[in-house]
Protein backbone atom coordinates (compact mmCIF):
# COMPACT_ATOMS: atom_id res chain seq x y z
CA UNK A 1 0.00 0.00 0.00
CA UNK A 2 1.15 3.48 -0.75
CA UNK A 3 2.06 5.36 2.37
CA UNK A 4 -0.12 8.46 2.20
CA UNK A 5 0.52 10.56 5.30
CA UNK A 6 -2.80 10.68 7.09
CA UNK A 7 -4.06 13.23 9.54
CA UNK A 8 -7.24 13.94 11.42
CA UNK A 9 -8.91 12.36 14.40
CA UNK A 10 -9.31 8.96 12.75
CA UNK A 11 -5.56 8.68 12.28
CA UNK A 12 -5.02 9.95 15.83
CA UNK A 13 -7.31 7.23 17.19
CA UNK A 14 -5.83 4.62 14.90
CA UNK A 15 -2.39 5.06 16.37
CA UNK A 16 -3.86 4.06 19.71
CA UNK A 17 -6.62 1.51 19.09
CA UNK A 18 -7.39 -0.94 16.32
CA UNK A 19 -10.44 0.66 14.71
CA UNK A 20 -10.54 -1.94 11.95
CA UNK A 21 -10.98 -4.71 14.50
CA UNK A 22 -13.94 -2.86 16.02
CA UNK A 23 -15.39 -2.16 12.59
CA UNK A 24 -15.01 -5.81 11.56
CA UNK A 25 -17.69 -6.86 14.01
CA UNK A 26 -20.18 -5.55 11.44
CA UNK A 27 -19.37 -8.62 9.34
CA UNK A 28 -21.19 -10.68 11.94
CA UNK A 29 -24.39 -8.88 11.08
CA UNK A 30 -23.92 -9.28 7.37
CA UNK A 31 -23.82 -5.53 6.75
CA UNK A 32 -20.45 -6.07 5.18
CA UNK A 33 -20.01 -9.00 2.85
CA UNK A 34 -16.36 -9.79 3.03
CA UNK A 35 -13.67 -10.92 5.41
CA UNK A 36 -11.73 -7.95 6.74
CA UNK A 37 -7.98 -7.75 7.23
CA UNK A 38 -7.83 -6.18 10.68
CA UNK A 39 -4.13 -5.40 10.44
CA UNK A 40 -4.77 -2.65 7.90
CA UNK A 41 -6.00 0.88 8.61
CA UNK A 42 -9.74 1.49 8.55
CA UNK A 43 -9.75 3.97 5.67
CA UNK A 44 -8.06 1.49 3.32
CA UNK A 45 -10.44 -1.26 4.30
CA UNK A 46 -13.56 0.85 3.84
CA UNK A 47 -12.29 2.21 0.52
CA UNK A 48 -11.82 -1.32 -0.72
CA UNK A 49 -15.23 -2.34 0.60
CA UNK A 50 -16.90 0.53 -1.18
CA UNK A 51 -15.52 -0.67 -4.51
CA UNK A 52 -16.67 -4.22 -4.01
CA UNK A 53 -18.95 -5.21 -6.87
CA UNK A 54 -22.45 -6.44 -6.11
CA UNK A 55 -25.18 -7.39 -8.59
CA UNK A 56 -27.75 -4.66 -9.30
CA UNK A 57 -30.73 -6.89 -8.70
CA UNK A 58 -29.76 -7.10 -5.05
CA UNK A 59 -30.34 -3.38 -4.50
CA UNK A 60 -33.97 -2.34 -4.44
CA UNK A 61 -35.86 -5.33 -3.02
CA UNK A 62 -33.33 -5.46 -0.23
CA UNK A 63 -34.61 -2.12 0.99
CA UNK A 64 -37.48 -3.96 2.69
CA UNK A 65 -35.12 -5.71 5.10
CA UNK A 66 -33.33 -2.42 5.74
CA UNK A 67 -36.66 -0.68 6.41
CA UNK A 68 -37.62 -3.41 8.85
CA UNK A 69 -34.36 -2.88 10.73
CA UNK A 70 -34.51 0.94 10.70
CA UNK A 71 -38.20 1.15 11.60
CA UNK A 72 -37.54 -1.28 14.42
CA UNK A 73 -34.74 0.97 15.67
CA UNK A 74 -37.10 3.97 15.45
CA UNK A 75 -39.76 2.08 17.40
CA UNK A 76 -37.22 1.20 20.07
CA UNK A 77 -36.05 4.80 20.47
CA UNK A 78 -39.52 6.38 20.46
CA UNK A 79 -40.86 3.53 22.59
CA UNK A 80 -38.22 4.10 25.26
CA UNK A 81 -39.04 7.81 25.24
CA UNK A 82 -42.75 7.07 25.66
CA UNK A 83 -42.05 4.54 28.42
CA UNK A 84 -40.39 7.28 30.48
CA UNK A 85 -43.82 8.82 31.07
CA UNK A 86 -46.28 5.99 30.51
CA UNK A 87 -47.89 4.16 33.45
CA UNK A 88 -49.46 0.77 32.64
CA UNK A 89 -52.42 0.65 34.99
CA UNK A 90 -56.09 0.87 34.15
CA UNK A 91 -56.42 4.09 36.13
CA UNK A 92 -53.32 5.85 34.84
CA UNK A 93 -52.90 4.53 31.27
CA UNK A 94 -55.10 7.10 29.58
CA UNK A 95 -54.04 10.01 31.78
CA UNK A 96 -50.33 9.36 31.33
CA UNK A 97 -50.76 8.99 27.57
CA UNK A 98 -52.70 12.24 27.50
CA UNK A 99 -49.89 13.91 29.43
CA UNK A 100 -47.43 12.74 26.77
CA UNK A 101 -49.62 13.77 23.86
CA UNK A 102 -50.93 17.06 25.24
CA UNK A 103 -48.58 18.47 27.85
CA UNK A 104 -45.03 17.39 27.07
CA UNK A 105 -43.05 19.30 24.45
CA UNK A 106 -42.99 17.25 21.22
CA UNK A 107 -44.68 14.38 23.03
CA UNK A 108 -47.43 14.28 20.40
CA UNK A 109 -44.80 13.98 17.65
CA UNK A 110 -42.98 11.11 19.34
CA UNK A 111 -46.31 9.37 19.93
CA UNK A 112 -47.35 9.82 16.29
CA UNK A 113 -43.93 8.70 15.04
CA UNK A 114 -44.28 5.56 17.13
CA UNK A 115 -47.79 4.90 15.82
CA UNK A 116 -46.99 5.58 12.14
CA UNK A 117 -43.69 3.71 12.41
CA UNK A 118 -45.60 0.68 13.68
CA UNK A 119 -48.09 1.00 10.84
CA UNK A 120 -45.29 1.14 8.28
CA UNK A 121 -43.44 -1.72 9.97
CA UNK A 122 -46.50 -3.96 9.72
CA UNK A 123 -46.75 -3.05 6.05
CA UNK A 124 -43.04 -3.67 5.46
CA UNK A 125 -42.91 -7.12 7.07
CA UNK A 126 -46.03 -8.25 5.19
CA UNK A 127 -44.74 -6.95 1.85
CA UNK A 128 -41.38 -8.52 2.62
CA UNK A 129 -43.05 -11.92 3.03
CA UNK A 130 -44.73 -11.47 -0.34
CA UNK A 131 -41.43 -10.46 -1.92
CA UNK A 132 -39.53 -13.44 -0.52
CA UNK A 133 -42.29 -15.72 -1.75
CA UNK A 134 -42.34 -14.12 -5.19
CA UNK A 135 -38.62 -14.66 -5.68
CA UNK A 136 -38.71 -18.18 -4.24
CA UNK A 137 -36.36 -17.27 -1.42
CA UNK A 138 -37.95 -19.81 0.92
CA UNK A 139 -36.20 -22.69 -0.86
CA UNK A 140 -32.89 -24.22 0.15
CA UNK A 141 -30.50 -22.84 1.22
CA UNK A 142 -32.66 -19.96 2.49
CA UNK A 143 -35.22 -21.74 4.70
CA UNK A 144 -33.92 -19.94 7.76
CA UNK A 145 -34.50 -16.62 6.00
CA UNK A 146 -38.13 -17.52 5.39
CA UNK A 147 -38.71 -18.70 8.94
CA UNK A 148 -37.16 -15.52 10.27
CA UNK A 149 -39.38 -13.44 8.00
CA UNK A 150 -42.51 -15.30 9.15
CA UNK A 151 -41.48 -15.00 12.80
CA UNK A 152 -40.74 -11.29 12.38
CA UNK A 153 -44.11 -10.70 10.74
CA UNK A 154 -45.82 -12.55 13.56
CA UNK A 155 -43.90 -10.61 16.21
CA UNK A 156 -44.66 -7.28 14.56
CA UNK A 157 -48.36 -8.06 14.36
CA UNK A 158 -48.32 -9.08 18.02
CA UNK A 159 -46.50 -5.87 18.94
CA UNK A 160 -48.98 -3.78 17.00
CA UNK A 161 -51.86 -5.60 18.64
CA UNK A 162 -50.52 -5.32 22.20
CA UNK A 163 -49.49 -1.70 21.66
CA UNK A 164 -52.96 -0.62 20.52
CA UNK A 165 -54.45 -1.32 23.93
CA UNK A 166 -51.85 0.61 25.89
CA UNK A 167 -53.08 4.12 25.10
CA UNK A 168 -56.49 3.21 26.57
CA UNK A 169 -58.06 5.33 23.87
CA UNK A 170 -61.66 4.25 23.43
CA UNK A 171 -61.44 3.04 19.84
CA UNK A 172 -58.05 1.38 20.35
CA UNK A 173 -59.35 -0.41 23.42
CA UNK A 174 -62.37 -1.79 21.65
CA UNK A 175 -60.31 -2.75 18.58
CA UNK A 176 -58.14 -4.79 20.94
CA UNK A 177 -61.22 -6.42 22.44
CA UNK A 178 -62.50 -7.31 18.96
CA UNK A 179 -59.07 -8.65 18.03
CA UNK A 180 -58.89 -10.81 21.13
CA UNK A 181 -62.24 -12.26 20.18
CA UNK A 182 -60.67 -13.55 16.93
CA UNK A 183 -57.58 -14.94 18.65
CA UNK A 184 -59.53 -16.66 21.40
CA UNK A 185 -61.79 -18.33 18.84
CA UNK A 186 -58.88 -20.45 17.60
CA UNK A 187 -58.69 -23.94 19.08
CA UNK A 188 -55.60 -24.71 21.22
CA UNK A 189 -53.96 -21.35 20.40
CA UNK A 190 -56.90 -19.40 21.84
CA UNK A 191 -56.75 -20.89 25.36
CA UNK A 192 -52.94 -20.70 25.34
CA UNK A 193 -53.07 -17.02 24.39
CA UNK A 194 -55.73 -16.37 27.03
CA UNK A 195 -53.42 -17.98 29.56
CA UNK A 196 -50.41 -15.95 28.41
CA UNK A 197 -52.33 -12.68 28.26
CA UNK A 198 -53.76 -13.17 31.72
CA UNK A 199 -57.41 -13.74 30.92
CA UNK A 200 -60.22 -12.86 28.56
CA UNK A 201 -61.35 -9.77 30.41
CA UNK A 202 -59.15 -6.67 30.21
CA UNK A 203 -58.14 -5.53 33.68
CA UNK A 204 -54.92 -4.42 35.41
CA UNK A 205 -53.40 -7.92 35.23
CA UNK A 206 -53.98 -8.12 31.49
CA UNK A 207 -52.83 -4.56 30.81
CA UNK A 208 -49.46 -5.05 32.52
CA UNK A 209 -48.90 -8.25 30.50
CA UNK A 210 -49.72 -6.42 27.30
CA UNK A 211 -47.21 -3.80 28.37
CA UNK A 212 -44.44 -6.27 29.24
CA UNK A 213 -44.98 -8.21 26.02
CA UNK A 214 -45.04 -4.99 24.00
CA UNK A 215 -42.06 -3.31 25.63
CA UNK A 216 -39.77 -6.24 26.48
CA UNK A 217 -40.57 -9.73 25.22
CA UNK A 218 -41.62 -9.07 21.63
CA UNK A 219 -38.88 -6.50 20.79
CA UNK A 220 -36.17 -8.81 22.13
CA UNK A 221 -37.56 -11.62 19.97
CA UNK A 222 -37.67 -9.33 16.96
CA UNK A 223 -34.08 -8.22 17.51
CA UNK A 224 -32.98 -11.86 17.73
CA UNK A 225 -34.64 -12.71 14.41
CA UNK A 226 -33.25 -9.57 12.85
CA UNK A 227 -29.77 -10.73 13.81
CA UNK A 228 -30.44 -14.22 12.44
CA UNK A 229 -31.69 -12.67 9.21
CA UNK A 230 -28.63 -10.53 8.67
CA UNK A 231 -26.27 -13.30 9.73
CA UNK A 232 -27.80 -15.84 7.36
CA UNK A 233 -27.99 -13.24 4.58
CA UNK A 234 -24.25 -13.09 4.71
CA UNK A 235 -24.03 -16.81 4.08
CA UNK A 236 -26.74 -17.40 1.51
CA UNK A 237 -27.22 -14.02 -0.16
CA UNK A 238 -30.46 -12.55 -1.42
CA UNK A 239 -29.84 -12.86 -5.13
CA UNK A 240 -32.11 -14.89 -7.30
CA UNK A 241 -29.29 -16.25 -9.43
CA UNK A 242 -31.29 -19.15 -10.79
CA UNK A 243 -34.12 -16.93 -11.98
CA UNK A 244 -32.43 -13.87 -13.43
CA UNK A 245 -28.69 -13.73 -13.83
CA UNK A 246 -27.35 -10.28 -13.07
CA UNK A 247 -26.62 -8.27 -16.14
CA UNK A 248 -25.18 -5.25 -14.41
CA UNK A 249 -22.81 -4.85 -11.55
CA UNK A 250 -22.78 -1.94 -9.16
CA UNK A 251 -20.49 -1.05 -6.30
CA UNK A 252 -21.15 -1.45 -2.61
CA UNK A 253 -20.78 2.30 -2.22
CA UNK A 254 -23.62 2.95 -4.65
CA UNK A 255 -25.66 0.31 -2.90
CA UNK A 256 -25.17 2.12 0.41
CA UNK A 257 -26.04 5.49 -1.14
CA UNK A 258 -29.24 4.03 -2.53
CA UNK A 259 -30.19 2.73 0.88
CA UNK A 260 -29.29 6.04 2.50
CA UNK A 261 -31.53 7.90 0.07
CA UNK A 262 -34.40 5.48 0.65
CA UNK A 263 -33.98 5.82 4.41
CA UNK A 264 -34.12 9.61 4.19
CA UNK A 265 -37.21 9.45 1.99
CA UNK A 266 -38.81 7.03 4.45
CA UNK A 267 -38.16 9.31 7.42
CA UNK A 268 -39.54 12.26 5.48
CA UNK A 269 -42.66 10.27 4.69
CA UNK A 270 -42.98 9.20 8.32
CA UNK A 271 -42.63 12.73 9.70
CA UNK A 272 -45.13 14.05 7.13
CA UNK A 273 -47.66 11.35 8.01
CA UNK A 274 -47.22 12.05 11.71
CA UNK A 275 -47.97 15.74 11.16
CA UNK A 276 -50.58 15.63 8.39
CA UNK A 277 -52.54 12.47 9.26
CA UNK A 278 -52.19 12.00 13.01
CA UNK A 279 -53.76 8.94 14.58
CA UNK A 280 -56.81 9.72 16.64
CA UNK A 281 -56.38 9.93 20.34
CA UNK A 282 -59.83 10.71 21.59
CA UNK A 283 -61.64 9.81 24.75
CA UNK A 284 -60.74 7.36 27.48
CA UNK A 285 -62.09 3.84 27.09
CA UNK A 286 -65.09 3.01 29.18
CA UNK A 287 -65.30 -0.76 29.64
CA UNK A 288 -69.06 -0.38 30.14
CA UNK A 289 -69.87 1.33 26.88
CA UNK A 290 -68.86 0.18 23.43
CA UNK A 291 -68.68 2.84 20.71
CA UNK A 292 -70.30 1.93 17.40
CA UNK A 293 -68.28 0.95 14.35
CA UNK A 294 -65.21 -0.59 15.98
CA UNK A 295 -63.61 -3.41 14.07
CA UNK A 296 -60.58 -5.67 14.57
CA UNK A 297 -57.23 -4.37 13.25
CA UNK A 298 -57.05 -4.60 9.45
CA UNK A 299 -54.70 -7.57 9.40
CA UNK A 300 -57.20 -9.54 11.48
CA UNK A 301 -60.19 -8.92 9.22
CA UNK A 302 -59.59 -11.99 7.03
CA UNK A 303 -59.47 -14.49 9.89
CA UNK A 304 -62.39 -12.62 11.42
CA UNK A 305 -64.43 -13.09 8.25
CA UNK A 306 -63.60 -16.82 8.20
CA UNK A 307 -64.48 -17.33 11.87
CA UNK A 308 -67.68 -15.32 11.80
CA UNK A 309 -68.97 -15.91 8.30
CA UNK A 310 -67.53 -19.27 7.30
CA UNK A 311 -69.64 -22.42 6.96
CA UNK A 312 -69.35 -24.94 9.76
CA UNK A 313 -68.71 -24.81 13.49
CA UNK A 314 -66.22 -22.28 14.82
CA UNK A 315 -63.63 -24.80 15.96
CA UNK A 316 -63.42 -26.35 12.48
CA UNK A 317 -62.91 -22.89 10.97
CA UNK A 318 -60.31 -22.16 13.65
CA UNK A 319 -58.46 -25.38 12.78
CA UNK A 320 -58.54 -24.36 9.14
CA UNK A 321 -56.97 -21.00 9.98
CA UNK A 322 -54.25 -22.69 12.02
CA UNK A 323 -53.57 -25.06 9.14
CA UNK A 324 -53.15 -22.10 6.79
CA UNK A 325 -50.76 -20.39 9.22
CA UNK A 326 -48.64 -23.52 9.52
CA UNK A 327 -48.70 -24.03 5.76
CA UNK A 328 -47.18 -20.57 5.36
CA UNK A 329 -44.57 -21.21 8.01
CA UNK A 330 -43.61 -24.62 6.64
CA UNK A 331 -43.58 -23.46 3.03
CA UNK A 332 -39.99 -24.70 2.50
CA UNK A 333 -41.10 -28.24 3.40
CA UNK A 334 -43.81 -28.70 0.83
CA UNK A 335 -43.08 -26.16 -1.88
CA UNK A 336 -41.14 -27.51 -4.87
CA UNK A 337 -37.52 -27.67 -3.90
CA UNK A 338 -35.75 -27.79 -7.23
CA UNK A 339 -37.95 -25.65 -9.31
CA UNK A 340 -37.58 -25.30 -13.02
CA UNK A 341 -39.20 -22.18 -14.44
CA UNK A 342 -42.52 -23.85 -15.16
CA UNK A 343 -43.05 -25.00 -11.58
CA UNK A 344 -41.97 -21.64 -10.33
CA UNK A 345 -44.63 -19.90 -12.37
CA UNK A 346 -47.20 -22.29 -10.96
CA UNK A 347 -46.26 -21.47 -7.35
CA UNK A 348 -46.33 -17.75 -8.15
CA UNK A 349 -49.85 -18.07 -9.54
CA UNK A 350 -50.87 -19.99 -6.42
CA UNK A 351 -49.38 -17.20 -4.32
CA UNK A 352 -51.29 -14.50 -6.24
CA UNK A 353 -54.51 -16.49 -5.81
CA UNK A 354 -53.92 -16.84 -2.07
CA UNK A 355 -53.15 -13.12 -1.75
CA UNK A 356 -56.28 -12.18 -3.71
CA UNK A 357 -58.34 -14.47 -1.47
CA UNK A 358 -56.84 -12.82 1.59
CA UNK A 359 -57.77 -9.36 0.33
CA UNK A 360 -61.28 -10.53 -0.57
CA UNK A 361 -61.74 -12.01 2.89
CA UNK A 362 -60.44 -8.81 4.50
CA UNK A 363 -62.96 -6.76 2.53
CA UNK A 364 -65.67 -9.21 3.54
CA UNK A 365 -64.61 -8.88 7.17
CA UNK A 366 -64.72 -5.08 6.95
CA UNK A 367 -68.19 -5.17 5.36
CA UNK A 368 -69.48 -7.55 8.02
CA UNK A 369 -68.67 -4.84 10.52
CA UNK A 370 -70.71 -2.32 8.58
CA UNK A 371 -73.88 -4.26 9.23
Amino acid sequence: MSEVPRSGWVAWLEQRINLTEIFSFLTHFGFVYTPIDTTRPLSEVTRELARQPIPTYARWPRVLGLFAAILFALEVVTGVLLAYYYRPTVDAAFDSTRTIVRDLPLGWFIHQLHAWGAWLLVLVVVVRLLRLFWDGLYRAPRELLWWCAVAMAWLVLQSDFTGKLLTWDSRAYWAAVRGMEVVFALPVVGPVMAFLLGGRVINDDVLIRFYVLHAMVLPVGFAAFLYLTFASLRRVGLGTETLAPATKVTSFREHLYGMWIMTTVMFGLLASLAVVLPFRFGSAADPYSTPSGVRPPWYMLAPYAVIEGGPGPRWVLGLFLLAVAFAVLLLPLWAPRFAPDRLDRRSRIAGIAAFALWIALSVAGALMEGR
Binding site: R51, T99, P105, L106, G107
Partner: protein, 155 residues
Protein backbone atom coordinates in the same frame (compact mmCIF):
# COMPACT_ATOMS: atom_id res chain seq x y z
CA UNK B 1 -12.13 4.95 -8.94
CA UNK B 2 -8.41 4.84 -9.63
CA UNK B 3 -5.95 5.86 -6.95
CA UNK B 4 -5.43 9.62 -7.25
CA UNK B 5 -1.87 10.51 -8.12
CA UNK B 6 0.04 12.43 -5.42
CA UNK B 7 0.18 15.59 -7.56
CA UNK B 8 -3.61 15.61 -8.01
CA UNK B 9 -4.20 15.16 -4.28
CA UNK B 10 -4.12 18.82 -3.17
CA UNK B 11 -6.53 19.86 -5.94
CA UNK B 12 -9.30 17.38 -5.07
CA UNK B 13 -9.42 17.89 -1.34
CA UNK B 14 -9.57 20.84 0.98
CA UNK B 15 -12.38 23.31 1.60
CA UNK B 16 -11.66 25.52 -1.41
CA UNK B 17 -12.64 23.00 -4.08
CA UNK B 18 -16.20 22.24 -5.09
CA UNK B 19 -15.98 18.71 -3.69
CA UNK B 20 -14.49 19.95 -0.44
CA UNK B 21 -17.16 22.62 -0.12
CA UNK B 22 -19.96 20.13 -0.69
CA UNK B 23 -18.42 17.74 1.83
CA UNK B 24 -18.29 20.46 4.46
CA UNK B 25 -21.85 21.50 3.62
CA UNK B 26 -23.14 17.92 3.88
CA UNK B 27 -21.45 17.38 7.19
CA UNK B 28 -22.73 20.68 8.50
CA UNK B 29 -26.30 19.74 7.59
CA UNK B 30 -25.93 16.30 9.13
CA UNK B 31 -24.57 17.95 12.26
CA UNK B 32 -27.51 20.36 12.38
CA UNK B 33 -29.91 17.45 12.04
CA UNK B 34 -28.15 15.65 14.87
CA UNK B 35 -28.35 18.76 17.05
CA UNK B 36 -32.03 19.14 16.21
CA UNK B 37 -32.87 15.56 17.13
CA UNK B 38 -30.82 15.79 20.32
CA UNK B 39 -32.59 19.05 21.22
CA UNK B 40 -36.02 17.59 20.54
CA UNK B 41 -35.30 14.58 22.72
CA UNK B 42 -33.80 16.88 25.35
CA UNK B 43 -36.86 19.12 25.72
CA UNK B 44 -39.08 16.04 25.83
CA UNK B 45 -36.97 14.37 28.52
CA UNK B 46 -36.69 17.41 30.78
CA UNK B 47 -38.69 16.48 33.88
CA UNK B 48 -42.03 18.33 33.82
CA UNK B 49 -42.51 20.84 36.62
CA UNK B 50 -45.22 19.99 39.05
CA UNK B 51 -45.73 23.62 39.98
CA UNK B 52 -48.45 24.24 42.55
CA UNK B 53 -50.64 27.30 42.76
CA UNK B 54 -50.64 29.66 45.71
CA UNK B 55 -53.88 28.18 47.05
CA UNK B 56 -52.31 24.73 47.12
CA UNK B 57 -49.32 26.04 49.04
CA UNK B 58 -51.53 26.89 52.00
CA UNK B 59 -51.45 23.69 54.02
CA UNK B 60 -54.06 22.93 56.69
CA UNK B 61 -52.20 21.10 59.43
CA UNK B 62 -54.80 20.49 62.14
CA UNK B 63 -56.18 21.79 65.40
CA UNK B 64 -53.88 23.73 67.67
CA UNK B 65 -55.24 22.01 70.77
CA UNK B 66 -54.05 18.60 69.49
CA UNK B 67 -50.44 19.79 69.47
CA UNK B 68 -48.98 19.89 72.98
CA UNK B 69 -46.39 22.47 74.01
CA UNK B 70 -42.89 21.21 73.19
CA UNK B 71 -44.23 18.65 70.72
CA UNK B 72 -43.50 18.51 66.99
CA UNK B 73 -45.62 17.19 64.15
CA UNK B 74 -44.17 15.91 60.88
CA UNK B 75 -46.44 16.88 57.99
CA UNK B 76 -45.91 14.58 54.98
CA UNK B 77 -46.64 17.18 52.34
CA UNK B 78 -45.59 15.80 48.88
CA UNK B 79 -42.07 17.02 47.96
CA UNK B 80 -41.67 19.35 50.93
CA UNK B 81 -42.35 17.66 54.27
CA UNK B 82 -42.10 20.00 57.23
CA UNK B 83 -42.25 20.07 61.02
CA UNK B 84 -44.75 22.09 62.99
CA UNK B 85 -43.40 22.73 66.50
CA UNK B 86 -45.36 24.32 69.32
CA UNK B 87 -42.98 26.39 71.42
CA UNK B 88 -45.43 27.69 74.04
CA UNK B 89 -49.11 28.49 74.45
CA UNK B 90 -49.31 30.80 71.44
CA UNK B 91 -46.10 30.38 69.46
CA UNK B 92 -45.96 27.80 66.67
CA UNK B 93 -43.15 27.51 64.10
CA UNK B 94 -42.94 25.52 60.87
CA UNK B 95 -39.59 24.27 59.54
CA UNK B 96 -38.62 22.23 56.54
CA UNK B 97 -37.96 18.60 57.52
CA UNK B 98 -35.49 18.11 54.68
CA UNK B 99 -31.82 18.40 55.61
CA UNK B 100 -30.02 20.93 53.42
CA UNK B 101 -27.04 18.59 53.11
CA UNK B 102 -28.20 15.47 51.19
CA UNK B 103 -31.97 15.70 51.64
CA UNK B 104 -32.37 13.18 54.47
CA UNK B 105 -35.49 13.62 56.61
CA UNK B 106 -34.65 15.16 59.98
CA UNK B 107 -35.73 13.75 63.31
CA UNK B 108 -37.05 15.85 66.22
CA UNK B 109 -35.00 15.70 69.43
CA UNK B 110 -37.48 16.53 72.18
CA UNK B 111 -34.97 16.96 75.03
CA UNK B 112 -32.54 19.25 73.27
CA UNK B 113 -35.16 21.03 71.15
CA UNK B 114 -33.21 20.43 67.95
CA UNK B 115 -33.76 18.83 64.58
CA UNK B 116 -31.18 16.09 64.03
CA UNK B 117 -30.19 14.48 60.78
CA UNK B 118 -29.83 10.66 60.97
CA UNK B 119 -27.49 10.58 57.97
CA UNK B 120 -24.53 12.75 59.04
CA UNK B 121 -25.61 13.99 62.48
CA UNK B 122 -26.20 17.55 61.33
CA UNK B 123 -28.15 19.59 63.92
CA UNK B 124 -30.49 22.57 63.57
CA UNK B 125 -32.14 24.69 66.25
CA UNK B 126 -35.81 25.58 66.10
CA UNK B 127 -35.06 28.78 64.20
CA UNK B 128 -33.50 26.67 61.44
CA UNK B 129 -29.91 27.69 62.17
CA UNK B 130 -27.15 25.10 61.76
CA UNK B 131 -25.76 24.13 65.17
CA UNK B 132 -23.26 21.51 64.08
CA UNK B 133 -22.46 19.05 61.31
CA UNK B 134 -22.13 19.32 57.54
CA UNK B 135 -25.36 21.13 56.46
CA UNK B 136 -24.32 24.11 54.29
CA UNK B 137 -27.48 26.22 54.69
CA UNK B 138 -30.06 26.91 57.39
CA UNK B 139 -33.45 25.26 57.12
CA UNK B 140 -36.30 27.04 55.41
CA UNK B 141 -38.93 28.23 57.86
CA UNK B 142 -42.53 28.90 56.87
CA UNK B 143 -45.16 31.34 57.99
CA UNK B 144 -47.65 29.86 60.44
CA UNK B 145 -51.07 31.27 61.11
CA UNK B 146 -53.68 30.08 63.55
CA UNK B 147 -57.29 30.74 62.56
CA UNK B 148 -60.21 29.60 64.65
CA UNK B 149 -57.96 27.20 66.52
CA UNK B 150 -56.62 25.62 63.33
CA UNK B 151 -52.99 25.73 62.21
CA UNK B 152 -52.23 26.79 58.62
CA UNK B 153 -48.77 26.81 57.08
CA UNK B 154 -47.90 28.92 54.04
CA UNK B 155 -45.23 27.07 52.02
Amino acid sequence: MSEPSPSAEPATTGPTTRRGFLTVLTRAFLGLWGLGVAGAIGVYLRPPEHGSRVAERMVRVGLLENLKVGEALLVRHSDSPFYVVRLDATQVVALSAVCTHVRCILGFDRERKTLTCPCHDGRFDLAGRVLSGPPPRPLASYTVSVRAGEIFVQL
